[in-house]
């Protein structure tokens, strides 16, 4: 009898992670039926859109790369207990800095490209540093600081596009003048995919993997994220590490911006970040903050989102369906994951099989940044 119960419980434990995924598919299928569309047809259209032709596959890969860059960067900030909502702005600043090099300097590709990459990483890092210092010195929560900086970055982009960097035939508000060929990342055939960017993404992934697993700095961030007070007593400076972590993520996000502006596009555009920053936050949440899952989930996102564009072309259904599928999946994982953690059925925590809970997101400490009352809390 005992046997049956334990095997029953562990069966549920193994199957449980799939429940939110299945639920999300059901939800999306339900929406499709609402619109008198066949889910099978829709998913097939999405599949075609992603894998139908070699060109499409390359697009999926090209879109995937900036997301990987941002996601692994966000893993660093999440480890330190930070909600780096400002990642969108950091992508934009990276794109802007790379664009500056592309438009204002000239030279051969082997000179321009490293300069662009360096500029982009620097720009993203500095933009992130602003949000970080606002937090550590100004006690401005990084969510709102990041939010404001995101918008300021977009405003800056629009200014550049319609002003100093406008195309010679006049401002179209769509994008700047196209970049010189030498500035662009070398592309594979006629696609938007640049093998160089894949190398960069691979390096970033390896760097983050190594940092989090094999360096003292990564360990300091981990301690900081779990227990800032104990971390302090163990010698970790919260201010220093917060700023460094944010700058590191900003640099990678900036790099993602460079990839966007130098291979996906050929000029600085209005929505250069393409929502990639926010998508990366979702990717990391869905991956339960595990680095090995991140590239796969990012790829899944890229498949779904790119496939949705074809979906729209083929079936007249809005491409937002892709975003719905991925978004609902993350939501259900957040909701179902915790529900399991709290014990559906009467067995409370502390029983034999510890549930594979979603690691907790950084604590909400919106008011905690501001200690308005001199005496500590309760």
């Amino acid at each position: 009898m005992n046997q049956a119960r334990t095997s029953g419980a562990s069966w549920i434990a193994r199957v449980w992670p799939l429940v939110p995924v299945v639920a999300a598919l059901l939800f999306t299928s339900g929406l499709l039926l609402l619109f008198h569309a066949s889910p099978g047809e829709a998913y097939r259209a999405m599949w075609d859109g992603a894998f139908g032709t070699p060109d499409k596959i390359l697009s999926v890969v090209a879109f995937w790369i900036p997301m990987v860059l941002c996601s692994v960067g966000l893993l660093v900030t999440f480890t330190a207990g930070l909600w780096n909502i400002g990642v969108e702005g950091q992508i934009v600043l990276g794109a802007i800095c790379a664009s500056w090099v592309a438009l204002r300097l000239s030279g051969p590709a082997w000179l321009l490209i490293p300069l662009e990459i360096g500029a982009a990483m620097l720009g993203g890092a500095l933009w992130a540093a602003i949000a970080a210092v606002l937090k550590t010195r100004g006690k401005v929560n990084e969510i709102f600081g990041g939010l404001a900086l995101n918008n300021l970055a977009i405003i800056l982009t629009n200014y550049l596009i319609s002003g100093p960097w406008q195309p010679p035939e006049g401002g179209t508000f769509r994008g700047t003048a196209p970049f010189q060929d030498a500035a662009l990342l070398p592309r594979f055939l006629e696609s938007r995919f640049s093998p160089l960017s894949l190398v960069l993404a691979g390096l970033a992934f390896a760097a983050v993997f190594f940092i989090l697993r094999g360096t003292t700095w990564g360990l300091k961030l981990k301690a900081l994220g779990k227990n800032p007070h104990s971390a302090f007593l163990l010698g970790v400076s919260s201010e220093r590490e917060t700023v460094l972590a944010m700058m590191f993520c900003g640099a990678l996000a900036g790099l993602g911006g460079a990839v966007r502006v130098l291979s996906w596009f050929d000029s600085l555009r209005q929505s250069i970040s393409g929502g990639i920053g926010f998508l990366s936050l979702l990717i990391v949440m869905l991956a339960a903050y595990r680095i090995l899952l991140v590239p796969f989930i990012a790829f899944f996102f890229s498949v779904v989102l790119n496939g949705s564009i074809t979906l729209q072309l083929k079936t007249q259904l809005h491409s937002a369906l892709g975003g719905i599928l991925t978004g609902v999946m993350v939501l259900f994982v957040l909701l179902f994951g915790s529900a399991k953690q709290l014990g559906i059925g009467k067995t409370r925590a502390g029983s034999g099989d510890a549930p594979e809970a979603i690691p907790a997101a950084p604590a909400d400490s919106i008011a905690g940044d501001i200690s308005t009352h001199a005496r500590g809390g309760d």
Binding site: T216, A223, K226, N227, H229, S230, A231, L234, G235, H373
Partner: protein
């Protein structure tokens, strides 16, 4: 109102916070509830005031058994508690704070509330502006308000938890007057939870003493402090035989150090601890010893005076700098203030290393941690997470992470929550450090421990440090006096 507690038990997991406590309180009298920290006083009072339910046992008011759903419910039935940190709303105005939860009428009646407050102020002798915000008031004023709110809410039984910590002498007098008036003229019942034996003797007619979750007994007051001290701490322990040790030069020196915080001012501390010496800080929690220790650790700066470690003026140095200079600090909350739940033992070792390398050599660190595990007899493996260890092993882990040699080792409650064996082993480890010339300064609420292990002792009471006594020569009486606040 007559209050009776019958066989109250409260269990938290394996811990018996209250283990079958019974007592009776008659109306019109002021009672004292005393005991060292961890004795179960606040648990018991939280149960009586409705904040948490007992695991078993009964509460009777005027011989009627009652059950409280919440503190508000308890107040409605006549029992109110004034916490050491009053449960008020700092950003609210006085008048809004007074009105919250007062009744269920939708619209706030400011006029009536103002009148009520004025009346109560006159009756109990204080003067507070209804439009001031709570966080602009002093602790004494906040207490007065909370007291008044409880009385206006119909409290017949009032529990006061350490009310005189952090208020001025004048406010204390007003408070005592109110307490006398409440009981003598209005027949209310008052319970004073306090460690200030002097005040307990002054005000109360009877004391109940708790120790380790049990009711030790009652004592009518006034009486000699030693009687109470003996009931609170048990018999005076024999000093354990310890190897003699040759003490060295002074390592830690505090000169005219004064520390001021919102709650407490600790004036004129002069202290010197020598290499190899074990110095104990006694006294009940909140009396200032933790503040002094935090200043020594660089977690807080003194408002006046100088701190020297090893002859070097370290006044105003921050924690990390002091750490680098040979100071070690082990806080009381092992998991909250020292270890990181979720990190393994090896990971803690990597973080605690004084010279940090960029790349972690996991193999080497694991081996090192294994060595320390066996040296410190920690039950656990290098990959075990800190929160999976038992309390005693967490303490050993914290010690294993300290640098060697240290000039100064500061410990807060080093054996709190440990069984006898672990506590003994902890002290063996500490004695070993003396060989390196480490000066050891520790806080403990356990008088047994203080007497058994210290070379010299200082007692803290109400923010003041007593004269320093030699452990080998002190008596129960002397310590009792010092703890009670008498010179």
């Amino acid at each position: 109102m007559r209050v009776e507690l019958r066989d109250i038990r409260k269990v938290f997991g394996a811990v018996k916070a209250n283990d079958g406590i019974s007592l009776t309180l008659e109306s019109g009298k002021i009672y004292a509830l005393v005991g060292e920290n961890g004795a179960g006083k606040s648990t018991l009072m939280k149960i009586l005031s409705g904040y948490q339910p007992p695991t078993s046992g009964e509460i009777l008011l005027d011989d009627q058994p009652v059950r409280f759903q919440s503190p508000a419910d308890a107040l409605a039935q006549g029992v109110g508690m004034l916490y050491q940190d009053p449960l008020d709303m700092p950003p609210f105005r006085v008048i809004d704070n007074y009105l919250l939860g007062r009744d269920s009428r939708l619209v706030l009646d400011y006029k009536t509330a103002r009148d009520e407050l004025a009346q109560l102020a006159a009756r109990y002798g204080f003067d507070i502006d209804p439009n001031a915000t709570i966080d602009s008031l002093s602790m004494g004023q906040r207490q007065q308000l909370e007291l008044v709110r409880l009385l206006a809410g119909g409290a017949q039984v009032l529990i006061l938890d350490e009310p005189t910590t952090g208020i001025s002498a004048e406010q204390k007098e007003i408070l005592f007057e109110s307490m006398r008036r409440m009981t003598n003229e209005e027949g209310k019942t008052v319970i004073l939870v306090s460690h200030k034996l002097e005040e307990v003797q002054e005000l109360c007619i009877h004391a109940y003493v708790l120790r380790r979750g049990k009711m030790v007994g009652g004592q009518s007051l006034p009486c000699g402090n030693e009687l109470l001290v003996e009931m609170m701490f048990g018999h005076m322990p024999q000093r354990s035989r310890r190897p003699l040790f040759q003490l060295g030069q002074p390592v830690l020196e505090l000169r005219d150090v004064t520390i001021s915080t919102y709650e407490l001012t600790v004036p004129d501390i002069n202290l010197s601890v020598r290499a190899g010496e074990v110095f104990g800080f006694a006294g009940l929690e909140g009396s200032g010893q933790r503040l002094v220790m935090q200043v020594c650790a660089g977690l807080m700066a003194p408002s006046k005076g100088q701190v020297y470690i090893g002859g070097q003026d370290v006044t105003g140095w921050n924690y990390h700098r002091m750490q680098a200079h040979g100071m070690g600090y082990v806080a009381a909350g092992r998991l909250e203030e020292g270890l990181v739940a979720g990190l393994s033992l090896t990971e803690h070792l990597v973080l605690a290393r004084p010279e940090k390398q960029f790349f972690i050599d996991w193999k080497a660190n694991e081996t090192e941690m294994s060595q320390r595990i066996s040296t410190y007899q920690i039950v656990g493996r290098p990959e075990t997470t800190a929160d999976a260890l038992s309390g005693g092993n967490q303490q050993r882990l914290l010690f294993s992470l300290l640098n060697t040699p240290l000039k100064l080792l500061l410990l807060e409650h080093p054996t709190r929550g440990l069984d006898v064996r672990s506590a003994d082993y902890t002290w063996q480890l500490l004695y070993q450090r003396r060989e390196h010339g480490t000066a050891i300064l520790f806080i403990s609420a356990d008088l047994d421990e203080i007497i058994a292990h210290s070379d010299r002792i200082a007692v803290f009471s109400g923010g003041r440090m007593s004269r320093v006594v030699e452990a080998a020569q002190t008596t129960a009486e002397e310590l009792g006096h010092l703890i009670g606040g008498q010179a």
